[in-house]
Amino acid sequence: MELSIASVLRALRGWGAVAAVLCSITQAAAEAPSGAEGVYASAPPRLLQIRTLVADAGRQTSTGSGFLVSPDGLAITNYHVVSDVALEPKTYRLEYTAADGTHGDVSLLAVDLPNDLALIRVDKHDAPYFSFDKAALDGTLQKGERLYSLGNPLDLGFTIIEGTYNGLVEHSYNEHIHFTGALNPGMSGGPAVNAQGQVVGVNVATRRGGQLISFLVPARFAAALLERSRARNPAPADLRKDVTAQLAAWRAELYHAFAEQGFRAASLGTYQAPETRASWFECWSQTNASASPKPRASINSTTCTADASVFVASDLNTGAVQISNSYAKSTDLNEFQFATALSQLAQPRLTTGGSFRKWYTPQRCVEDFVGLAPSAATNDGSSANAGNDSKMLVAAKPSSAQLPLRVIWCAQGYREFEGLYDVVLVAVTQDHGDEALVSRLSLQAIAYDDAMRLGRSFLKGLQVVR
């Protein structure tokens, strides 16, 4: 159930032949009939197929789509279509193929990593180009409007797909348009336009396991990128720095928003567990109550996930945030058996978004018993000086009133991205031998200080209610 930008690209790789099929499209209809035929008639000269080639071999490694947005050859595509060139400019280069069969070099001007967009320049002048839909830029588009998504799926040739605008995706940190239509690999970076041929969004992804559920990047991000960077002329190595800087800045913003929303206490058995207030999390509950054979300890879990991960490179997708709380109570396990069951629940399991050898530093852990201030004393976790408060209260109350915890903190750094880490924090309550709360906070691509701040307020959200 996850956004699979990566799946788009993966399938897209290895489709070899160039889309010379584009040429077969008729150049009729200057009178611009409305609907699909109109779009079909006017769009081809404005569309590009973007190919990534290995610089030395001159052969393509992946293809995607793009579209012209200015008369002087500026075009928009997805970041994930050009990521190889942004990250490894010495190894890869870009080429475009137009509908009329002409092709030429592409220079990469700018990327927008969080929104998976890129601005490129092709060697074309006075070519027709797409304009942006005013309503889409203002965010006043009506749900249910017909949209036409354009591109070159699976390198089969120019294709138009009709679908419906369904507004913005709920429970998502990044803005995405929910488009009901069948996007396919290779269409990434192509435009989705209204009946007048104006751009509403950029094709970006489909949902694995769904039917016709696809996503578009809203046009306003593409328009903003165009405005911001049309005059740029970066050195190849700058783009890699841009990617790093954008990733760090975007993650910092996301985690600040997350921390600002703070945690609220949700009751789970005899404990209060921290849950996020942020609306961009999707929460699911799980229980083993109906399991067969009858479980010997009941385990009820709530897991809230923000699929705020982005495509960084073809082998790195990172940025997911997850909070999970499990309340376990023994029915007929003894204390040792129950502890074994808890051990299984509490393994830190840092999930990585890419290959370890390429992207991560080794995982390091800290583990200890921690006494937590009693529940009545905790205040809002988002308060900045909460750490000092709790220390004072620990000193003031007898230690028996503390909530004892076993806390495991594991972290690994990113090799390339200075200041970013993946962190997982697991806390297991230690006040009873036959019941416990196992709380887990996993944060991908986060600055260490942010992780510590969130970790502290997460722990503060753990309380006993008896």
């Binding site: 800290v366 006494g371 004892p404 972290a411 502290r456």
Partner: protein, 320 residues
């Protein structure tokens, strides 16, 4: 009266001759008092006489291959005999003893000692099976099946039996006695030591928050294995103990070095330590609770380690 004993390479007596003469000759020829069937022995090789002080001495009778004291490499024309060290002629070991040679006191008939060993072996075996079952029981979080207990116990018994069987066979071959009970006890003691260490490692990793003890478990296992191998070898034959110790020690060192290397390479490959985080009943905790601030301090320190790791891997990977 003098006894001449022909010894095997393992110092077992393979032939014993009683001679009642003042002068004894030993050689391959049939005119000797004691005949040694060794092609490297001369027809008339050596003679045994008493010197002026009444001690027994061996004298070379002019053989080509000469007369030596046990392992000595220097040829002697004349050797004073003490009844303990054999002489070497050709490739044969010959020991000469007088009838007054002191022997070890009578060993008590084994019944009591043996039954003690039997009881110890059975008792220790039951304790081990008990520990095994207890560990399985503690680890059981789902429906209990009888086979969960039976299979590991049988595997344990089978493995131990095979292990002890091999050593007993070796003992039988080289020492003539299988020493079965001794081998059983050695194997059981080793297993007990290993389990005690494992239990200690788990306990200390939780109750004392010392996960390091756990990560050295493999060293402890190799040490235990080496120790029991040495003890088994000692049962097989009490000679060459230093050499056996050195060989076992070398193998131990190699095994630990190889596994340490393998673990560090696995860590460099996967970025993960192979230890798991153990939880036990909260009542077993021995260390005091730390306050949150101190723990956060630890977490903060971890950052510098991670950053050092990053600097390290950056140094080794090419800059792009």
């Amino acid at each position: 009266m003098i006894w001449v004993e022909i010894l095997s390479r393992h110092r077992d007596v393979v032939g014993r001759f009683r001679v009642d003469r003042a002068e004894i000759t030993i050689g391959r020829g049939y005119d000797n008092d004691v005949i040694v069937d060794d092609p490297y022995v001369a027809a008339q090789h050596v003679r045994i006489v008493r010197d002026d002080a009444g001690r027994l001495v061996a004298e070379d009778l002019g053989s080509a291959n000469g007369l030596y004291l046990e392992k000595s490499r220097s040829r002697c024309a004349r050797v004073v005999l003490d009844g303990v060290q054999p002489i070497r002629i050709g490739q044969s070991l010959v020991r000469i003893r007088e009838s007054g040679h002191a022997v070890e006191p009578e060993r008590l008939a084994g019944s009591e000692r043996r039954s003690l060993l039997v009881w110890a072996a059975v008792g220790l075996g039951l304790v081990l099976l008990g520990i095994d079952a207890l560990l399985i029981w503690f680890g059981q979080t789902s429906e209990a099946h009888l086979s969960d207990y039976l299979l590991p116990s049988l595997t344990l018994v089978g493995t131990a039996a095979a292990w002890v069987g091999i050593w007993s066979l070796l003992s039988r071959l080289f020492a003539g006695r299988s020493m079965f009970l001794h081998h059983v006890l050695i194997a059981e003691a080793g297993m007990l030591a290993f389990w005690l260490y494992t239990a200690f490692a788990q306990f200390s990793s939780f109750a004392l928050t010392l996960p390091g003890v756990f990560s050295y478990q493999y060293i402890a296992s190799w040490l235990v294995l080496a120790a029991i191998c040495f003890l088994h070898l000692r049962e097989v034959g009490r000679t060459h103990l230093v050499a056996k110790g050195v060989v076992v020690g070398l193998l131990l060192g190699t095994a630990i070095a190889v596994q340490t290397l393998q673990r560090s390479e696995a860590f460099a490959n996967s970025g993960r330590q192979t230890i798991s985080h153990v939880l036990m009943p909260p009542s077993l905790r021995l260390v005091p609770l730390r306050d949150e601030g101190a723990f956060m301090g630890d977490i903060e320190q971890l950052k510098s380690k991670l950053d050092a790791d990053r600097a390290e891997v950056r140094k080794t990977s090419p800059d792009r």
